[in-house]
Every structure is written in structure tokens, then in C-alpha cells.
Symmetry: C2
Subunit: 277 residues, 2 copies
């Protein structure tokens, strides 16, 4: 219910498009019970804010449904701190929710507004493929928790790329956030747009520590949880790309995602990969 009544009342007078996203995070599946409460609070909201970024929407209203095994004041305080900090950073408002007893799980629903939602299905032939930030850091940190502070930060405190989304919303033809891994998520754009992609591995920004690991390719191509953006733009818009945006490939005819490494096709058998045909 809403805070102090049966429901919250909003006044979306001048919104052209209202964008709504909801995600449930379950303890033991989406996070570890021993993760810091602050990090869980941050991440529960960051995941949904990242969906808003992927749609080029600005998050405005948030609902929080919290299911807790028992009242643990210290945990709730930490969770609230992580959650509230990110909420206020983006001037979003908590408008309602629910607290129930049960096995630990968190559902966050975010409503945002935009004058131009960017969907997955708008990529065009010859469009350039762009990613933000570095990929593979979160997946690396999950498997190698003591190797890199920057990667740990990416895993436990990902920053939804609302900054870039706002800057590219009028040039992006399709957009998605990298939550399941680059091949899987770029594959979603290709599938929805009924086209294919070719990407150059050596062009993907990767953390130096990750790159030294024997499994680095798997982290970069199939590692989830980075919450960076992957989007497509017309070739003519290349010069207008903001900072921290990196061209990694191009949209072509066909199906699936082909990966080149220094211009040589490589075999990829990672989860989420759709074979190039």
C-alpha cells in the first residue's frame, strides 16, 4: 500500500511516457545473506534504476516490498542507508511498499518518465554498437573476491548509468543494460531488431586485473551484473558520443552475435551466446 493510505497518489500531468519496471531479489539467489546490508540496499535499487537507464527514463517514484525473517534493526538500518543514498542521489521518491515476515527477499518497483523511451528493437543495419565503462568486472569479483577493489565496487555497488542514458537518449536506436552478460544482452537487441552483430573483443574496455586472468574472455563476454549500458547509434552520430562510451562493433544482417579478436573470428560457447548463422 501507499504510505499512510491504501495506495499512493501520483500526478503525472506532463509525462509523455511512463516507464515501469519491477525486480525481485531473493537471498541466496541474487545476493548472499552475508553481503553487507548496505550493499544489498544499494543493489536492490541500482538494478531497477539500471532498467530505467536502459529505457532512457528518469526514475521518479519507487515502491519497496521487503520480506524479512525477523526484525533485525541493525540490518534494516544498513539496508535503508544503502537504499536511501542512491534514491536521493537521483532525486527519486519512495512512495509506498510493504513489509512482511518471511524468507528474506526484496521487490523494488520503479516508475520513471521520459519523452523518448529507447527500446531493444530499434537497431538498424550498419549501426555502431557502443558500451559504457568496463565489462566483466562484477563477474570477476564474484569469483575472485580479494583481487581488485574496483571490481568489488562494481559488484557490490554498481552505478546505474543514468548519466549516459540521459546524454544518448536522442541518438540511441536501441538500448539495454548489461545484466546477463554482453553476448546475451546484445543478443536480445539483435533478436528484437531482427539483425545480427559483430564485435571486436580488443575494443571492449576491460579492467587491467581482469585482463590478466586466464578466464578473462568469459568474464567480459558472459559475465553479468555489470549494469553498464549497451546501445546502438547511427554511424553519423559517432562524434557526439559522451565520455566513457566505447564503440565495440557494428550491426549487420543475420542472426546472433559474432566475436572477433584482432579481426579473427573466435569460438564462444558462453551461456547466452547465440550462434552466428
Amino acid at each position: 500500500m501507499g504510505i499512510g493510505d491504501d495506495a499512493a497518489i501520483l500526478h503525472p500531468a506532463n509525462i509523455q511516457q511512463l516507464v515501469v519496471s519491477t525486480d525481485t531479489l531473493v537471498s541466496g539467489i541474487h545476493f548472499k545473506a552475508k553481503d553487507s546490508a548496505q550493499s544489498i540496499g544499494h543493489k536492490a535499487l541500482a538494478v531497477s534504476f539500471s532498467d530505467m537507464a536502459a529505457m532512457a527514463a528518469k526514475p521518479k517514484w519507487v515502491l519497496l516490498n521487503l520480506t524479512l525473517p525477523k526484525i533485525n534493526d541493525k540490518w534494516v538500518k544498513g539496508f535503508t542507508q544503502g537504499f536511501a543514498k542512491l534514491l536521493s542521489q537521483h532525486q527519486a521518491q519512495l512512495i509506498g511498499g510493504d513489509t512482511t515476515q518471511g524468507p528474506l527477499s526484496i521487490t523494488v518497483t520503479v516508475m520513471g518518465e521520459t519523452d523518448q523511451a529507447v527500446r531493444r528493437d530499434g537497431a538498424k543495419m550498419d549501426d555502431l554498437i557502443v558500451v559504457t565503462g568496463e565489462l566483466g568486472s562484477a563477474a570477476f569479483a564474484l569469483k575472485n573476491p580479494r583481487k581488485s577493489k574496483a571490481c568489488n565496487e562494481q559488484l557490490h555497488s554498481p552505478k546505474p548509468r543514468l548519466d549516459v542514458a540521459e546524454q544518448v537518449k536522442h541518438m540511441a536506436t536501441a538500448m539495454i543494460d548489461v545484466s546477463d552478460g554482453l553476448l546475451a544482452d546484445l543478443g536480445h537487441i539483435c533478436h528484437a531488431s531482427q539483425l545480427a552483430a559483430v564485435i571486436e573483443l580488443s575494443q571492449i574496455p576491460v579492467n587491467e586485473t581482469v585482463k590478466k586472468h586466464p578466464d578473462w574472455m568469459s568474464y567480459v563476454l558472459a559475465g553479468g551484473d555489470d549494469y553498464q549500458l549497451c546501445f546502438t547509434i547511427n554511424m553519423d552520430d559517432e562524434d557526439q558520443l559522451p565520455e566513457d562510451c566505447h564503440i565495440i562493433g557494428q550491426i549487420i544482417a543475420g542472426q546472433g552475435v559474432m566475436v572477433l579478436n584482432h579481426h579473427q573470428p573466435i569460438e564462444t560457447n558462453f551461456k547466452g551466446y547465440q550462434h552466428f548463422t
Copy 2:
């Protein structure tokens, strides 16, 4: 996320007020694991639709987050049937959600529209107090599962009173749904409106089977889960009340809810009762 993209896109062009409500139902707390899947599906949505009724809003868009221990096709089919039937009865639309693995729980978020949301805090001195339907049936059925088919129906398949809400939205000064029990919920209206209430027990509609039970007063005054409406109207509007609406008392100065039985004050010590001062 939305169906087929990172989020759902809505176009609320002509909505004056957008009303949002969310509820989490946890197995073992809000329903029994052995309840029929169809009934759980119905009730998960009915609870949120009832919040819309309490605000005098028409439910339009629904998000469903389902956390399941393991895929059980038969259970999911039953759940979906109960859920979808109520959804289509009210021409509402499922726009997104999430399916995750974990201990059984259900979060339903409903967005509705209204030209005039009715809140809890608008009751005025001398307003009449009105309830719909019969009270206490669901609580009776929970404790006495084999006594009354009508009461079982009220417990397992409650009908959100969107019909009455639509008819009284321009005359109700305050409104709430009876989910926690009449004394508690009418108490919320009184507290929010900074007034008190006096109600006459003999005027409250009660199922005949419930009335024969020694604990009937407790079911009627403190039993939850009926999902009927309780609202207040100006005395001049009495003649315009639609069918199945029953005047049970009046708003007065003070705090709390006083109960009379055939004009004699009675002591009530039920949960949620706020003592009259």
C-alpha cells in the same frame, strides 16, 4: 522488468491521478501452502484491487512478481487461471513482472486511474459511516472451515468492491477497505481525520451462520480479510447510497471507535481497537 524489454511503457495521457498500490503475500503468513492455487491467484490480485477500490480508482495496469520454490506446471496453471480471470473481469492489463526461484511469495503491484481519489483523512463531523456487504465472514471461515459455503467463498475468493467504489466516489468523504477488521480500519479513518466514530453493532450486516457462533462479535468487529469497503458520507447523501451499502454509525468529536449494541455501549478488547476517550 516489462514484458519483452527492460521496462513497460505506459501512456497515461489523460489521467488526472495515478494511484499505485503494492502488496506481498508470503506462503504460511498470508495464505496456506495447501490452499488451491486458483484461490491464491485470485486473492493475490483481489487484495490489490481492493486497495484500488478503497481509493475509488479503476485498476488498469498490473505487475506480478512470482517467487517459486520449483517449477510446478499444475500449480502455475491454477494460479494463472485465478489471477487472469479477475484481471479480465475488470479489463486490467498485465504489463510486466518477474519470476524468480525461492520460497513461495507473490508481489502484486497495481496502477489505477481516477478523477477523484478518496483518501482516509476526509471524514467530517456528523458524517454517516457506511459498510458494504457482510462483515466477519472471512474470519469465521478461517476458524470454521466447514460451516458455511458463503463464508468460505468470502475468504478464498473475495470480490473487491470496485462496483460500489465507482458509484460512491463523488460522495464518499473518506474510504478504506476492511482488511484488518472493522475497528482497526475505521480507526484508521478516525485517526487520519482526527475525529471519532460511534457504531451500532445491530446495524452491521452479518451472515446468519456467523451470528449463531459465540465469538461472532469478534469476527464482525475484528475479523480481517473481508475486503468490503467502509466509507463516510455527508448526511444529505443518504438517499443516494447504492445497493448493499449499510449505515452503521456516525462520525463524532474525539478519538477512537465506540461500539453500541442496541444503544448500550459495550466493552471491546479486540486487536486494533482504539479506546474511546
